[in-house]
């Protein structure tokens, strides 16, 4: 029995051992298959399951003005989407979502019933909308983050900035022109995902801001842009015009400081604007300049030596025949010198000057001033204007171009040309972008002002400046452009408009004023164009006031002090000081009548005090506290300074309380505390 049992045990042991060996062999074989034979395929499958490639959407770079004020910035906002197949009830979802996102329920339902497995409910929703939709908790509705462009100053410079489409692509203006720079690149980032689909960054952090586009710094100054916007809007309203354009340039550098247009448009809601109102007309539209062009005719003739600066031209008493056409002046003139031709804007004088210059030279100088060529500022749709080649000129062409008809220019072109006169004769390429910056604000590329060519000599430019100053002086056509305290050199223009789709001119007009200020040290070259004004259409009436408004507000902002001795400055100074003087007289009456405290110790003062009746001299000799109530801080300081009083100021706005009552005797060295508060708050 024992050997039998022992044998059976051995067999069982052998069987178990064999089973183990077999099992382990199978496992080993399977391991070899998985780890060696199918390794590559399975590793790839695992990689796909655990690792994920995250696409970091590019953030569009900001647009700054020349003082680094943000004009356009991008933010991530939530877009709401739906997967119709995951919706329990499309009808119910559409009904609940529609009022929250402000979309028609039938439209939403049509989207949900369509074939697409993914539909947008609302792209770039507001935070309120996203929160409300999230609160509904509808299954199958999800959220995606997308970049959205914001323009914090709304319509300020909107035409110039352009706008960005839903997918973040620049569609108009500088957004389009610099799309590649601003847009940035989509970055790919490797990470792992856990069972809950959470992201694990095993390969380190995403490169800091690498996906963010570069920012651009414009030459625009948002404060001057605002001034120009307000001025052009007022001018268009007053003239009941179809539209208005103002271009403000620094004639020393060619920097465009502002381009204002009315009607403007708000790029935050670009879809609401008519397509034709989204274009920047300063670059993308042309107009016949009319009489403003005469300054270039005179400049060319002087430079070419075709006329002398003291030469006189006979203006034919107001009518002059050229071929079968008769050219008229608005007012009849006889002999006029060059300054007179510019000041009185004589068409006949200008065409006679152009005759002396000759067609070839005339054309050459027109081109040299930049007309007939794109401005080169780098703006989409920048037009070259319309200047036919000489061989296409008819007999009358030279004469009409001499007074600005038969040639079409862009507002930017003519501003650059007048800047050439302002800066002493050099045509500068208009500059819109100063630099490109990375996300830290470090400059990665900068663009310097560029001189295109010298067009006229400094002497000619000086003569032209003197002629143009005459336009804004008494008897000139542009007196409304005079900015108090600043000498203005300019020229008015009123041009007929070509009939659309027909030959000849319509009854519609374009009134304009171009010039620079201060005339002898120009800091601003400004063009104002008012298209189709109703009523009196003259540039001197409809455009010159806007020029004045821009100049008188922008120059002090730029730190350009007005001429203190000009009649306007003196008048304004007297007007500004009058109320203060009256108040000071009342407050410090005794000071005027008798010297203040120190008088008591001078011989004369002592004598006067001794002569006065007892008890009266103290009152008569002591200075009194002025009444500061209702004064601004600035006025209070002026008043205090005039009386040598120390002030302690609290708050801002207008004075509503003072520590010493008005009229009280003022102790020497006393400090008066004055409380200021905004009007209406106390």
């Amino acid at each position: 029995m024992k050997p039998l049992v022992s044998r059976w045990v051995r067999i069982r042991v052998a069987f178990v051992a064999l089973s183990f060996i077999l099992g382990l062999s199978l496992i080993l074989l399977r391991a070899v298959q998985l780890q060696v034979i199918d390794q590559a395929h399975l590793a790839a499958l695992a990689e796909r399951q655990h690792r994920t490639e995250i696409q970091v959407a590019p953030k569009r770079g900001p647009i700054y003005d020349r003082n680094m004020q943000e004009l356009a910035v991008s933010l991530e906002v939530e877009s709401i989407h739906a997967r119709p197949r995951e919706l329990r009830s499309a009808e119910d979802a559409a009904k609940r979502l529609a009022p929250v996102v402000g979309v028609d329920p039938s439209k939403l339902l049509a989207r949900f019933k369509g074939k697409s497995p993914f539909v947008w409910v609302k792209r770039q929703a507001t935070p309120t909308e996203a929160t409300a939709v999230r609160a509904l908790g509808i299954e199958g509705v999800g959220f995606t983050r997308e970049g959205r462009r914001f323009y914090p100053h709304r319509s300020l410079g909107g035409k110039l900035l352009g706008f960005v489409g839903m997918d973040g692509e620049g569609l108009e203006g500088l957004e389009l022109q610099h799309d590649q720079v601003l847009r940035g690149k989509t970055e790919r980032l490797h990470a792992m995902r856990d069972a809950l689909r959470r992201r694990i960054l095993v390969d380190g952090l995403e490169p800091g801001g690498a996906a963010e586009g570069h920012g651009i710094i414009l030459t625009i100054d948002h404060a001057i842009q605002y001034i120009a916007d307000s001025a052009i809007q007022t001018a268009v309203e007053n003239a009941r015009a179809r539209r208005g354009i103002a271009v403000v340039m620094d004639p020393r550098t060619g920097d465009i400081l502002a381009i204002a247009e009315s009607p403007g448009f708000n790029p935050n809601v670009y879809a609401e604007a008519a397509p034709e109102n989204r274009h920047c007309w300063a670059f993308c539209s042309t107009f016949e300049p009319g009489s403003t062009f005469k300054i270039f005719v005179v400049a060319a003739a002087l430079e070419a030596g075709a006329v002398r600066h003291d030469q006189r031209v006979y203006c034919e008493g107001g009518a002059y025949r050229v071929g079968k056409h008769t050219i008229h002046d608005v007012h009849p003139y006889g002999w006029l010198d060059l300054a007179g031709v510019v000041k009185h804007s004589s068409n006949i004088g200008a065409l006679k000057i152009a005759d002396r210059l000759g067609t070839e030279d005339f054309y050459r100088y027109i081109r040299a001033f930049g007309f007939g060529s794109r401005s080169g500022a780098g703006f989409p749709g920048d037009l070259p204007g319309l200047l036919p080649p000489v061989k296409q000129w008819k007999n009358i062409t030279r004469s009409t171009i001499a007074f600005g008809q038969g040639i079409a220019v862009t507002p930017v072109q003519i501003t650059a040309a007048v800047s050439a006169i302002a800066n002493g004769g050099t045509l500068l390429q208009p500059r819109l972008v100063m630099a490109k910056v990375d996300q830290k604000g470090d400059v990665v590329a900068s663009y310097e002002p560029r001189a295109v060519r010298r067009v006229i000599s400094k002497e000619t430019a000086t003569l032209l400046t003197a002629f143009m100053k005459g336009v804004t002086e008494e008897g000139g056509t542009g007196t409304a452009a005079r900015a108090p305290g600043y000498a203005v050199a300019g020229k008015t223009g009123t041009a007929q408009k070509v009939q659309e789709g027909k030959r000849g001119y319509s009854s519609k007009r374009v009134g304009s004023f171009i010039g620079f200020v201060p005339a002898d040290n120009p800091r601003l070259a400004i063009s104002v164009i008012i298209d189709e004004p109703r009523g009196i259409p003259y540039g001197g009436r409809v455009a010159a006031p806007a020029f004045r408004e821009i100049a008188e507000k922008a120059l002090p902002y730029m730190g350009v002090a007005p001429d203190q001795d000009s009649p306007e400055s003196l008048r304004a100074a007297v007007e500004a000081q009058a109320p203060l003087k009256a108040r000071g007289e009342a407050g410090r009456l005794p000071v005027h009548r008798a010297p203040a405290a120190p008088a008591a110790i001078t011989a004369e003062g002592k004598a006067a005090a001794e002569k006065a009746p007892p008890g009266v001299e103290t009152v008569a000799l002591a200075p009194r506290v002025p009444d500061f109530h209702g004064l601004s801080i600035r006025d209070a300081l002026i008043l205090a300074e005039a009386q040598n009083i120390a002030l302690e100021i609290e708050g801002s706005g207008l004075a509503h309380a003072q520590s010493l009552e008005a009229g009280e005797p003022l102790e020497p060295g006393a400090i008066i505390k004055i409380k200021f508060s905004p009007p209406g708050s106390s």
Partner: protein, 102 residues
């Protein structure tokens, strides 16, 4: 007997040494394996933290952009002019009111 006893002791000693070496090897292997697991766990844990930090960074950047946008809106010249005119009773300075400081 003495010779037999010495052989037995040597054999026993050898066995103990072999066993000790085996335990040491296994111990080292276990420590290595534990270290590997710990390192993997740490890497994953840091991956999570990094991911959270990146998320927080993105949120802060977004908040920063939102604040900058708000600040830019508040600096709007139209708004400032409105406050200056209506609340503070200010106006653009006239030529006689401008004093150059140089």
């Amino acid at each position: 007997m003495k010779r037999g006893a010495g052989k037995g002791a040597r054999r026993s000693l050898r066995r103990w040494r072999t066993a000790g070496a085996s335990v040491l090897v296994v111990g080292v292997m276990i420590v290595c394996a534990l270290f590997y697991v710990w390192a993997r766990h740490e890497a994953t844990s840091w991956g999570y933290r990094l991911s959270e930090a990146a998320q927080a960074q993105n949120e802060l950047k977004q908040a920063n952009r939102e604040l900058r946008l708000e600040a830019a809106s508040l600096r709007s010249p139209a708004r400032i002019e409105s406050i200056a005119r209506k609340k503070l009773g200010l106006d653009f300075p006239k030529p006689g009111q401008i004093q150059p400081l140089n």
